[in-house]
Amino acid sequence: MKKKVLIVDDEEDILTSVAMLINNMGYEAKTANNGKKALEMLKKQKFDLVLLDILMPGISGREVLENIREYPKLKNQKAAFLTVVKLSEYGRDIMKKKLKPVDYFQKPINVSDFRRRIKKILG
């Protein structure tokens, strides 16, 4: 069975292009254009990885991951950030301690680096 990746971003272009990349790698991509929808999907089905944008209207990517960590069934969910935000050291520290993302991808994506790191996460 194909491993499933949920991509969460408010920009449709990003959702489409990242989903295409993920599908081309042999995984199954699903998309959500806001944090609320993402949380609903995560509670209904199992995903091997969630790729989260940070700055989104409504529930931000940080809040989505906070919710994931607080929800018993999802607390071990693998999640990574996919964002234009350049985290400060302070921010990286908070992330590491509280939210525990498995990786952090900077937009715009370097495709070959993205593929290599996604493969490493999903095996």
Binding site: L55, M56, V85, K86
Partner: protein
């Protein structure tokens, strides 16, 4: 005043500081901050989103703060503006604000920006727009050198503070 000295100390090692204070203490915290930094920087750019530069200048006079090295950006059209004051058409106009900051930084030697405060920006813009603006500003400060302090009221802004924490260098809560 001791708390404001902490901020000055934090500015040695950090470029972008988020200053969180309660609404009750906010005005005094900012005055004390200006007192603590006014003679420590070559040029200070004060961005005022909730009061005019004239009001701040009169507060400076009342508190014996030398503001000869200050530049101001405000959003209020009035006659008695202090010297070196630039007015932006509206708090909606964040691009205009970003360009004006760039221009002032290019033309004059400003090595500290104090933005007071983030909350007023949220009256005219949604939170993602404000977060993107602050993120871009922090990236520019980091890239081009200098320091910046961004003030925000504590009450009711926990979500926004947590989001800004991801890209600010330090959070100081007073």
């Amino acid at each position: 005043m001791a708390e404001e000295s902490i901020i000055v100390g934090k500015l040695c090692n950090n470029q972008n500081i988020l200053l969180v204070s309660s609404s009750k203490d906010h005005n005094q915290v900012l005055i004390d901050l200006h007192k603590a930094v006014s003679n420590k920087f070559k040029g200070i750019l004060a961005i005022l989103t909730h009061k005019s530069a004239a009001t701040l200048a009169s507060e400076f006079k009342k508190n014996n703060i030398d503001y000869s090295n200050y530049f101001f950006i405000d959003f209020v059209e009035e006659d008695n503006k202090p010297k070196r004051c630039f007015t932006i058409s509206s708090l909606f106009a964040l691009t205009e604000l970003a360009l004006k900051i760039e221009k002032i930084k290019k033309m004059y030697k400003t090595d500290l920006i104090i933005l007071d405060n983030i909350l007023s920006m949220l009256i005219y813009n949604n939170d993602v727009t404000v977060l993107r603006f602050l993120h871009d500003m922090m990236v520019k400060v980091r890239k081009k050198g200098g320091k910046a302090i961004y003030s925000i009221l504590k009450e009711g802004n926990e979500k926004l503070i947590a989001d800004i924490s991801l890209f600010a260098d330090e959070i100081v809560e007073i």
